[in-house]
Symmetry: C2
Subunit: 313 residues, 2 copies
């Protein structure tokens, strides 16, 4: 009962994953990353959430942007623009090494898991980081302009077109990452923590991989989510806009808990959303969920683990 | 009679190509580049001689290294090393844009000629630069360690293993670049200039493409080579070492002329090699062939054109 399995998307999820990695003993954290945002660009295989997690846990993340690497240079993009290449998706020079090397190894037949595992080791990360599946899953959004690939909507169109539907293409055929499945069924799980990522496009792609939701529910450990909503607002990203457009309601903390339904045993909400706790089925813990400092990330990680441990007791 | 066709490899050839481009009127220069040095590395299609020519003619070349771009940054290589990637072939951040964008467009079905032509325009180069063929030709060297791909011998092994044989794999099936062939047969050629590149691995791959040697001989214009040897020595690169190992003789200026055989009508040799001129079949002009400054590149270009024009007269 010593393994914590965290489900995570990008920025917000990576912050809590870093907190968890710092308060847990070595080898006690397995982060399962959303790969629905993955895409192919300039002939390169790009895995934004995996990379954000790797950079955050290696201390290489860019705190200003929330994506990419710190101390980045941009010579590649400048030269690409001169040659008439596509520049709407910004790839820093250091970040590019991740994509070029991953693409090379995927083409040589390695799995995304194996490449990620090797990158993690080489960058000195003790937590395991694994994709939800080694098979491609691609989040697509139905908008007034038709179906758009996620990054085209998110980056190229800057979340502009209203979202009417979401599909996780390939999810139905995707096999869960085998080590994730083995970890969940090994009887060793202390808690499953759903990080404060966008439920609709960061967590639900993970849950859409056949077998993963059932494995989480059946692992015997408490499942605790941390709300991505603070005071009725999303900290970053398109969660609020998308939620309203797709579901026709404001994206409150309680609404997120209801969205996860019977998956949750516990729910960590921000103190600012205390009034929404009433009537929620999972056991609620209030905490300060805005993770600006490292100490705040660790404190929130402890709050989520404490809630999970109390549910087991 | 206004088109000059230059055959070129990398560094030395690019210097004379730049000189030619500056002394000739706009539209009067077509540079045919060796692609035998091309290779695939990190999943990218790399064309060293084409790139050296493009960078040199666009004023973007790195004068210290003779390859790659000036004002280069190296963040990509540093990050690639952290991830355990192959770093024996150094790719600068700006240079990388050329390879990524070219690879993307080749995979999308464009020819190497079309990509090169677009790069040339975008970088403001007035001379045409075309590969000898759009089909792959790969120079391989037979050494004491067996056959080595050219860049593995040249860069990875730093020209160490002794060369016993050279093959231009694919040359027999390669089709000459159509515009090059059309230009040579259009009756408009004023001169063919063989740049001071390594005959064995920079010029002979071009001549090995079926039809090109005959088209050069049959174009009706004088063919003039500029010696890559100055005072019995090669300015840069492995020409001398390779020549000795492969041919068992010192690589003199006269030996290079004899190697080109009946292809040449004229030969520009360095003043330092004047004693070697005696008995050579092609008409010889002596010049200062070390091209350190831009003025020296232009002067040597004029010397080659003057020799060609005198042969026609």
């Amino acid at each position: 009962m010593n393994l914590v399995v965290a489900l995570s998307g990008g920025v917000g999820g990576a912050k809590l994953a870093l907190g968890l990695s710092r308060v847990l003993p070595e080898g006690a954290l397995l982060v399962v990353a959303n790969t629905g945002d993955d895409f192919e660009h300039l002939g390169l295989s790009i895995s934004p959430d995996l990379d954000t997690l790797i950079y955050a846990l290696a201390g290489l993340d860019n705190p200003e942007t929330g994506w990419g690497r710190r101390d980045e240079t941009w010579s590649f993009m400048a030269a690409l623009a001169e040659l008439g290449g596509e520049t709407w998706f910004r790839l820093g020079d250091r970040d590019l090494a991740t994509h070029v090397e991953r693409t090379r190894r995927l083409r040589a037949g390695e799995t995304l898991s194996a490449v990620t595992e090797d990158f993690r080791r080489r960058l000195g990360i003790s937590a395991r980081i694994l994709p939800m599946s080694d098979d491609p899953v691609r989040t697509r959004l139905l908008t007034g302009e038709g179906w758009l690939d996620f990054q085209h909507w998110f980056v190229r169109r800057q979340c502009g077109p209203a979202v009417r539907g979401i599909a996780f293409a390939g999810a139905g055929q995707a096999r869960p990452q085998p080590e994730v499945l083995a970890a969940l069924s090994g009887g060793r799980v202390r808690a499953v923590v759903i990080c404060p990522s966008n439920p609709l496009i960061s967590v639900e792609p993970i849950l859409a991989v056949p077998g993963l939701r059932a494995a989480i529910r059946g692992c015997g450990a408490p499942v605790v989510a941390v709300s991505p909503i603070i005071g009725g607002r999303a900290v970053k990203g398109p969660t609020a806009k998308m939620w309203r457009e797709l579901l026709g309601e404001a994206p409150g903390a309680a609404a997120v808990a209801r969205r996860y339904g019977d998956l949750l045993d516990g729910y960590v909400m921000d103190e600012a959303d205390a009034v929404e706790a009433e009537g929620l089925r999972p056991r609620v813990a209030l905490a300060r969920t805005l993770m600006t400092t490292l100490a705040e990330r660790e404190a929130l990680a402890r709050a989520a683990l404490d809630l999970a441990d109390s549910l087991r007791a």
